[in-house]
């Protein structure tokens, strides 16, 4: 697992916006990208992954899975309907080793992350995503897009979760039934 107390700060990658967005005044897309190494047994490959707070799970595109010698069709476990914007892709989970790579390509922190892998090739979804579960449980992720007065700059950071609150003292959504003793 990741080293407790580990933290890192990254500048947003400013991916130049496509023409239509530029016409609306959006010159750049500030994107939280981190360099990772993914391992499937002895096979290891490096990718730039987008940290995606809107994704329920992490996602490994079919071509990337193929590169790692992973055949999604042979994965055991239930098929998951993975819904994105504009498409639903049948996928299965594969738990893979992930290292976040820093300045000198030392694995700064090593994790096991379950990725959804499409069962059938999906050329439309090609970006490696680090979604909320379990990545955002392991790290406090902070996006600071308004970090400076220059809207084209920003930074984001990861901090390993060290101390968790006692769940009995934690506010629960209204849909959760309260315990009989009335205490939160």
């Amino acid at each position: 697992m990741a080293t407790a107390g580990w933290r890192a700060s990254y500048p947003f990658v400013r991916i130049p916006a496509p023409q239509g967005a530029r016409e609306q005044g959006f010159e750049f897309i500030l994107t939280p990208i981190v360099k990772i190494e993914i391992a499937n047994l002895e096979q290891r490959e490096r990718f730039f992954a987008v940290v995606d707070s809107g994704a329920d799970y992490s996602y490994l595109p079919s071509e990337a899975a193929q590169l790692l010698g992973l055949d999604a069709a042979s994965l055991t476990g239930s098929t998951v309907e993975n819904r994105g914007i504009g498409a639903t892709v049948e996928s299965r989970f594969a738990t893979l080793g992930v290292s976040l790579l820093g300045e000198h390509e030392e694995p700064e922190t090593t994790l096991e992350i379950p990725f959804l892998v499409p069962v059938h090739p999906d050329p439309e979804s090609r970006v490696v995503l680090l979604g909320r579960h379990p990545f955002f449980r392991l790290f406090d992720v902070r996006f600071r897009m308004g970090y400076t007065d220059d809207p084209t700059l920003g930074k984001w950071s990861l901090e390993r979760v060290v101390k968790r609150r006692d769940s009995r003292r934690y506010w629960k959504p209204a849909a959760f039934p309260r315990p009989a003793n009335g205490r939160p």
Binding site: A21, I33, R46, F48, E63, Q66, L67, V98, S125
Partner: protein, 86 residues
């Protein structure tokens, strides 16, 4: 920092392997440059601040990159085509 425990699939990128260090900041800077739009919709293999191979097929891109890099490992990225809403 060193990992506290190695998992069965844990990547190992230690000094002494065939892959000398490259600076991720340099590589990320490339993704912020206008040049990246040239590769929209394609896979790119990046080493240092350079694209060493690109194309629609990741397998072919890796093959080409490996031939050029002779042991160094590239980093792959699929450049979004248009605005990405994942």
């Amino acid at each position: 920092m060193k990992p506290t425990r190695k998992t069965p699939n844990a990547p190992v990128s230690s000094p002494g392997t065939a892959s000398p260090p490259s600076d991720p900041a340099q590589e990320l800077a490339f993704l912020s440059s206008e040049k990246v739009l040239t590769y929209a919709g394609e896979w790119v293999a990046i080493a240092g601040s350079k694209v060493v191979a690109h194309g629609p097929s990741l397998l072919k891109v890796r093959r080409e990159a490996e031939a050029k890099l002779k042991g160094r490992k590239p980093t792959f990225f699929a450049v979004p085509k248009g605005a990405a809403t994942y």
